[in-house]
């Protein structure tokens, strides 16, 4: 195959990357849609201008005029026509630029308009995970989870963005554009999904060694399903039922785990790491690093820095007979 044909075959493949659970070109909510519109309008206008200029240039090169016999002779009509042409093009450029600026300004104004939503979430960025706190006027209905945001479909959700250490950035390409999380201040965004589904988000501001492994999932449910999820998350952790799980809870509470993690309903109430109350209801482990399976959980608990170098969870010395009970306990945190 000739190289050119090869390139032509491979290029469309790259477009396959434009779909899926993380794509700004496959918008699934109003914010992402207006951003995608902007991308296409800008690209379209820029391409049109480029084609016009290229055609004009080619025409000028092809239809070369003969040299005038006397270089000093003037042709006032011609020159006036040229003056109009240049002036017209400059004016057109100005109009295009002003129109694009106005369009982008209007879209931004719409994107950044904040409002009181029925649901407000405080999203705090940490090296290298996300703390997700569902706020509520009633203190008993406030709870935290991590690395997974659940929202009802078709309803704007207000998200407050904060950071505890360095600057991070919240970006769920299919649903909304980037917004930074900055220590010491609060930014606001609105998140809305039109269809149920799972969308992937990614920290978009370099924040340290494991920046690339700081992702999150946005799960959009129909309204009733969302309320059921929220009620389940509000509950304290189910008490351990088997003897093995009871032993696991003892291991958890008598080891350093409880100085960093919260399991509601036990004496572990620290916030240096993700809330583990309903750990087993989540899909991923370590901010999207691994699917949550028993094997991955074991690797993580025994040696988190081996799995995610630079992570702020240390390797913890467990006795060999303590590991399985601990895993059974963690897996029971549904």
């Amino acid at each position: 195959m000739r190289p050119r044909a090869g390139v032509a075959c491979v290029l469309p493949l790259a477009l396959a990357g434009c779909q899926g659970w993380q794509s700004a070109l496959d918008p699934q909510g109003p914010q992402a849609r207006s951003l995608a519109d902007i991308i296409w309008v800008f690209t379209g206008v820029a391409v049109a201008v480029w084609v016009l200029v290229a055609v004009a240039l080619a025409a000028a090169l092809l239809r070369r005029r003969a040299e005038p016999p006397d270089p000093l002779s003037r042709a006032p009509d011609r020159e006036r026509a040229m003056g109009y042409a240049v002036g017209g093009c400059v004016a057109l450029t100005l109009v295009v630029i002003l129109a694009l600026t106005g369009y982008s300004y209007a879209t931004q104004k719409e994107l950044f308009s904040t409002h009181e939503g029925r649901i407000t979430i405080l999203l705090t960025g940490h090296q290298f995970w996300w703390d997700v706190r569902y706020e509520d006027p009633a203190p008993s209905r406030v709870f935290s989870t991590a690395n997974e945001i659940h929202i009802p479909v078709g309803e704007p959700v207000r998200i407050k963005l904060e950071a505890s250490d360095v600057i991070h950035s919240f970006w769920v390409p299919s649903l909304l554009g980037k917004q930074d999380l900055i220590p010491g201040r609060q930014n606001l965004v609105r998140l809305q999904a039109d269809r149920p589904g799972v969308y992937r988000g990614q920290c978009a501001e370099f924040c340290g060694w494991q920046h690339a492994h700081m992702s999150l999932l946005v799960v959009a449910h129909p309204r009733e399903e969302f309320e059921a999820w929220r009620d389940a998350q509000l509950a304290s952790a189910a008490p351990p039922s088997t003897d093995e799980q009871k032993e696991g809870q003892r291991v958890f509470l008598s080891n350093p785990c409880m100085t960093c993690h919260t399991v509601r309903g036990t004496s572990a109430g620290a916030v240096a790491g993700p809330d583990l109350t309903h750990l087993a209801s989540r899909r991923m482990l370590g901010a999207g690093m691994l699917p949550l399976t028993r094997g991955n959980l074991a690797a993580w608990v025994v040696d988190a820095p081996g799995v995610k170098p630079g992570v702020h969870m240390p390797s913890i010395k467990l006795e060999p007979h303590e590991l399985h009970p601990l895993l059974a306990y963690l897996e029971g945190l549904k």
Binding site: D165, P256, T259, A272, G306, H312, P314
Partner: protein, 185 residues
């Protein structure tokens, strides 16, 4: 001339290596083997026999460990009792007087074992590595560590400039005991 220029460029690369960052404590590590006496009294002339392995220098000379310690100081709620070093219900840590000794091994012992007048023991609640990181940070509060490794920024509002901008102190280098433990004169 050209050789000289190349040599200078190569030499400047030496500045790229500032410190090694230990990203992963030993998962199988036990407590370090330091043995610190609780008093300066001991029969004979030698004074108490102690074991200091020199491990402390890995921490007092390392910026990464100290910034980790600074983070832990808040996360482990040390600031709940010691405020930002100025003291509250717990004693001040940013001054140069130490009840239980101001060498890093003494501070490690303070954190691991606890102390009788209200300092909790963190044995088994913090991995050994983090205890050393905390101890190194505690020393940086009074700038008993080199300036280039002391933390140079605060993550949020703080009542005083960061540790690297404090004047250095030498401190009382350890071995002192609380008044209640002092031998009758």
């Amino acid at each position: 001339m050209r050789t000289l220029a190349i040599a200078l460029v190569l030499l400047s690369l030496a500045a790229c290596q500032r410190e090694e960052r230990a990203l992963r404590g030993d998962p199988m590590a036990d407590e370090s083997r330091e043995k610190i006496a609780l008093t300066s009294l001991s029969p004979g002339d030698s004074g108490p026999i102690e074991v200091r392995t020199g491990r402390g220098e890995e921490y007092t000379g390392n910026a990464y460990h100290q910034s980790e310690g600074k983070k832990l100081f808040k996360q482990m709620n040390c600031n709940g009792c010691h405020a930002n070093g100025g003291g509250g219900m717990g004693v001040p840590l940013m001054d140069d007087t130490w009840i239980y000794g101001g060498r890093i091994e003494n501070v490690v012992q303070t954190i691991r074992e606890g102390r009788p007048n209200g300092m909790p023991s963190f044995r088994g609640k913090l991995p050994d590595e983090q205890i050393w990181q905390l101890a190194a940070y505690v020393l940086s509060m009074s700038r008993a560590v080199p300036q280039d490794v002391a933390p140079s920024r605060d993550d949020d509002m703080h009542p005083r400039p960061a540790e690297s901008r404090q004047p250095a102190v030498t401190g009382v280098q350890g071995g002192t005991v609380p008044p209640s433990g002092e031998a009758p004169q």
